[in-house]
Symmetry: C2
Subunit: 336 residues, 2 copies
DNA sequence: TTGTAAGCGTTATCAT
DNA sequence: ATGATAACGCTTACAA
């Protein structure tokens, strides 16, 4: 075990511990030679300053807490990777916790992390309609918090969002331009702003291209593959299939394709499908899935940078950053 | 900010700080009433012991470091979830880092975590053939380390492995029993023991069922989808397609299916395909992918439990735990 | 049962 | 330029 302390080094060199400390913290006066001598011997002895003592003294943990709904899917894994990239470079360690999409566990995790004295938090909320006052209170008490993804644009806090309205509109427009005349949107849960926004984008496209009410539907499906399965089976039974599905995410899109294929309905010839929040798998399917790509990694980096600034009291230009994506068109929406 | 200290509480109650400390650490003698009074007032004041001070005093960080090659794919995300589940319950916080499949970054991360005084490490190595002495040295210095997945069974350390030989054998046997007569194994990089073991299992099945050398091949493909693409295209050009592919992982399997489908080769009718290390997506494909499921979550839990025991010097029955999986048979290998 | 005080490994103020 | 020392917030041996 590494047990060499500043005292050991000081004793060995017949200098005071303050000199050793100074040698390791450039900011103090110390003769260049002594500094180098100390550093050399310290290295020989395998000395590393004990960060825990430093933390206590400086009243700073150099830990940042990150809470996500889950990281089994790529989305939040990539966000976390972006966060780590920035924070590690800045000398922070990242403590990640999952809320399992449960607000009360999310809040409990926040308390755990705060009790562990994290210097700041990045929260990807599981839900943006419940108890957001919990966070406003923490912020007003001086906590540094940055939110990512599932947060209302109107929420008065630092946050990084994806422009769901715009890219939902563009995805829908793409289907229209491909000649699909009857389009259903398999939407997520309405009390999530991201679902709400994607519905808005979809509606906007319907209006813009003057689709009559009979030519589109918005079906609240949820975010899970299983949910979609049931719905599509029903549509088939009711003989109420559209020309194309605009799906809340790739999981739903893939399960739609899977069911249609079981019923020998051809994608994209009979029915077009487009997903959202691109999965790596999207390009490994047959047919390959068209989807809206979100800049997950960059969203994480941006949030981390905002947090660093917040901690260092650097004023920020914009409290809210809304990011753009890419429309990755592949086979599933490209009939010729 | 939470700034209430043990002193504030003591002063407020006209007791000594040791009494307050005792109230929070059951193990000491303290009158029940005082204890309750202290706890109640402490709660009112919003006091929580400062874990950093506790760590310094107890010379223990209550942090555990975890290093994985990446957590964009589900495999390590699930392992980490299992680890967190156990460690959080035991009062530890988990510091996760990615090595990006690069041994030197992995070692650098180890040093970072050790300098941060983690109480133990769980390592999912990026490679098991290089510099494993690095770890043996740490262990001999008293560090607590548990390895997961990519480690040779002969490596003398605590570890949790998957029985790759057995399940590779079973996956291959399944293809044989389905009547596929010519089987190619798309293998991973040979200097990884997991690839090596899966090759062994494959060979074992070939021997057991007396396949002549002309009826099977082992092609070193790598772990990535792109690698497989090239290989299969070549096989098609050379008119050297087998009856079935036994793939090193699902990513490779899915890209095989995708290419075959582009060439209008039917899976599973013309060619059967089976993957390894089940992806969630496996059951969303058409055809749904057969695969070997690894108990990722349980592997993480097991490793974490072993680490806790190691830290608390509890003797362990077996230094090496080798886990079993499931054969999830779906459409891609089920011709009728 | 409770209080006093030393000490964990640093940093930073004040002398020298 | 360097050294002595208090302090960070807690635990724990020892004293009362």
């Amino acid at each position: 075990m590494n047990k060499t302390t500043i005292k050991d080094v000081a004793k060995r060199l017949n200098v005071s511990i303050s000199s050793v400390s100074r040698a390791f913290n450039d900011k103090y006066d110390i003769k260049k030679e002594t500094r180098e001598r100390i550093l050399r011997v310290a290295k020989e002895m395998g000395y590393h300053p004990n960060p825990i003592a430093q933390k206590l003294k400086q009243n700073k943990s150099f830990n940042i807490g990150v809470i996500v709904p889950e990281f089994i899917n790529e989305y939040y894994s990539e966000v976390i990777s972006g966060i780590q990239e920035v924070l590690n470079v800045n000398g922070y360690q990242v403590l990640t916790m999952q809320s399992n999409n449960c607000p009360s566990l999310e809040f409990k995790n926040v308390e755990t992390l705060l009790n562990n004295r994290v210097d700041g938090l990045i929260i990807c909320p599981s839900c943006d309609s419940e108890n957001m006052n919990f966070y406003l209170e923490k912020i007003s008490k001086g906590q540094h918090i940055v939110f990512v993804n599932r947060v209302k644009e109107s929420f008065p806090a630092k946050k990084v969002l994806f422009n769901n309205i715009k890219w939902s509109y563009l995805a829908t427009e793409h289907l229209i331009q491909k000649g699909y005349k009857k389009i259903y949107h398999l939407a997520g849960n309405k009390n999530l702003s991201i679902s709400h926004d994607r519905i808005s984008g979809f509606k906007k496209a319907m209006e813009k291209y003057k689709f009559p009410t009979s030519s589109f539907k918005i079906i609240e499906t949820g975010l899970l593959a299983e949910d979609a399965t049931v719905i599509v089976e029903e549509l088939i039974l009711d003989d109420d299939l559209p020309d194309a599905f605009m799906c809340i995410n790739d999981l739903v899109a893939l399960s739609v394709i899977s069911i249609l294929s079981e019923h020998s309905i051809a994608v994209p010839e009979d029915i077009g499908v487009i997903g959202f929040t691109e999965t790596k798998m999207a390009s490994l399917m047959s047919p390959k899935l068209s989807s809206v790509k979100q800049p997950t990694y960059e969203m994480g980096k941006t949030a981390a940078e905002m947090l660093c600034k917040s901690i260092n009291n650097i004023v920020i230009e914009r409290e809210t950053v809304i990011m753009n994506g890419d429309l990755n068109i592949r086979k599933s929406s490209s009939r010729s």
